[in-house]
């Protein structure tokens, strides 16, 4: 009975339009130590605050993958860089569709690495022509930006010095009161919303 159940489960996954591809490596790159639990934003209380180790762990992880970390100052500079208007500096949001629609860095392209086939057409050309590409996701324990960066960098043979990962992510961006764009890219709906207003019901698990 259990065997039948397992077989049916695989069939259901195969039939599901959102089913997982068993042969694909969803977490490319070398096996890396996972973020220290204290770094997780989904803990209650503030015990995780005030320690540098999660940040250092993130930096070490990014460097091990040949990715350049970008802090909030650097990201703000990229955002205000006039070259952004010519798309020589671009942002890529690696969160899921719902979170992107709820708010993203203005002008950021969307790239959900779990559904690359849906987004590659939009990002390939801009990635090839951009001088600086900044990937981000939710921040905290989210590592989708890293995986998306590795995926696009390796598949498009992008130079390493052009690829940046904003570890603080969208959480830090909104916490800093920077502008966000609602809905589709270049929708023109700009606002300075707080985090709670832009991620309704957003679970860290889905970042």
């Amino acid at each position: 009975m259990a065997v039948i159940g397992v077989l049916l489960a695989f069939v259901a996954n195969g039939l599901s339009p959102r089913g997982l591809d068993l042969t694909r490596n969803y977490f490319p790159g070398a096996r890396l130590s996972l973020p220290a639990p204290a770094a997780e934003t989904n803990l209650t209380g503030s015990a995780a605050a005030g320690t540098n180790s999660p940040h250092e762990g993130l930096l070490a992880r990014l460097r091990a993958q040949g990715l350049q970390p970008a802090d909030s100052n650097q990201v703000a500079q990229f955002f205000h860089d006039p070259r952004r208007l010519q798309e020589e500096v671009i942002f890529i949001d690696a969160r899921d569709e719902k979170q992107y629609q709820a708010g993203h860095i203005p002008g950021a392209y969307h790239f959900d690495r779990f559904r690359p086939e849906d987004y590659l057409a939009n990002v390939v050309q801009v990635c090839l022509s951009a001088q600086q590409i900044v990937f981000y996701c939710g921040g905290g324990d989210c590592d989708d930006s890293e995986h998306a960066a590795v995926m696009l960098r390796d598949s498009l043979a992008l130079a390493r010095e052009r690829v940046f990962v904003y570890g603080g992510g969208f959480d830090e961006w909104t916490a800093n009161g920077l502008p966000i764009e609602l809905g589709a890219r270049n929708s023109g709906q700009l606002t300075n919303a707080t985090r709670s207003a832009v991620s309704p019901g957003g679970s860290p698990a889905t970042r």
Partner: protein
């Protein structure tokens, strides 16, 4: 003489079953009252995790469901309407697993995959993907069997076999988080990938204990009413619990 001996052999089993029933009743009352005292939190859970967006319906569920849990707990404690209670246990177990399975499988199975990966138990991509792909649907499968009353004991056994190791790895992860963050164990809150979003670990352990006890109860042969086919094979009639 034989009857006396048989009754004597059954006594420890009956005592254990009685103890389990009382424990289950107490836990249901606890779970219900916790929701009553944390009404706003439970309402948020209904809206966000159960995805009941209609304000009236979500409010109704949040107001009524906790008291139904308390009532069910009292039924178990008193032993009233035991057959009906067993049937409710089977249906409740089925609905919970169907919901939790679908919550993981749709619409973002990759979110569940990421959570499984965080346990660091499986590193091989194919194995990891297999767990992420099959486990949610397997839970749905077991839930449907329980709800329909097909191969009931087998389905309950599957759930019990899954619940024990899952609960242990969730506790282990919570202990790691508690040690790293300095939080008390019961203050640790995280998404364990169980299908209900973020939960406090102690609450999760209570919930899993309830699910395990219910599975064991159904596995013992209870809840035979309204079954399409309780057993796929012929079996002996079980002792009444």
């Amino acid at each position: 003489m034989n009857a006396t001996s048989s009754a004597g052999e059954r006594r420890p089993w009956h005592m254990a079953a009685l103890g389990a029933r009382w424990l289950l009743g107490g836990l249901f009352i606890y779970l219900g009252l916790i929701k009553v005292f944390r009404a706003a939190e439970f309402l948020k859970y209904v809206r966000e995790q159960l995805m009941v967006t209609d304000p009236f319906l979500s409010g109704l569920i949040a107001a009524v469901a906790p008291w139904l849990e308390v009532l069910y707990g009292l039924l178990l404690l008193t032993g009233i309407a035991r057959n009906a209670a067993a049937l409710i246990a089977r249906w409740w177990l089925g609905i919970v697993f169907i919901f939790m399975g679908l919550h993981k499988a749709l619409p973002h199975p990759e979110a569940f995959l990421k959570l499984v990966r965080q346990y660091d138990v499986v590193t091989n991509p194919f194995l990891l993907n297999s767990i992420g792909a099959a486990l949610p649907w397997f839970e749905v499968y077991c839930g449907v069997l329980l709800l329909a009353g097909v191969a009931v004991r087998g389905a309950a056994l599957n759930l019990a076999v899954m619940l024990v190791p899952f609960t242990l790895v969730v506790i282990q992860r919570a202990l790691t988080i508690a040690a790293a963050s300095g939080l008390p164990f019961c203050a640790v809150k995280f998404d364990c990938g169980c299908g209900g979003g973020e939960v406090f670990i102690c609450h999760k352990v209570v919930e899993n204990t309830v699910l395990l006890l219910l599975s064991a109860w159904v596995l013992s042969g209870a809840a035979r009413q309204l079954c399409l086919r309780h057993s796929l094979f012929r079996e002996k009639a079980p002792a009444s619990v």
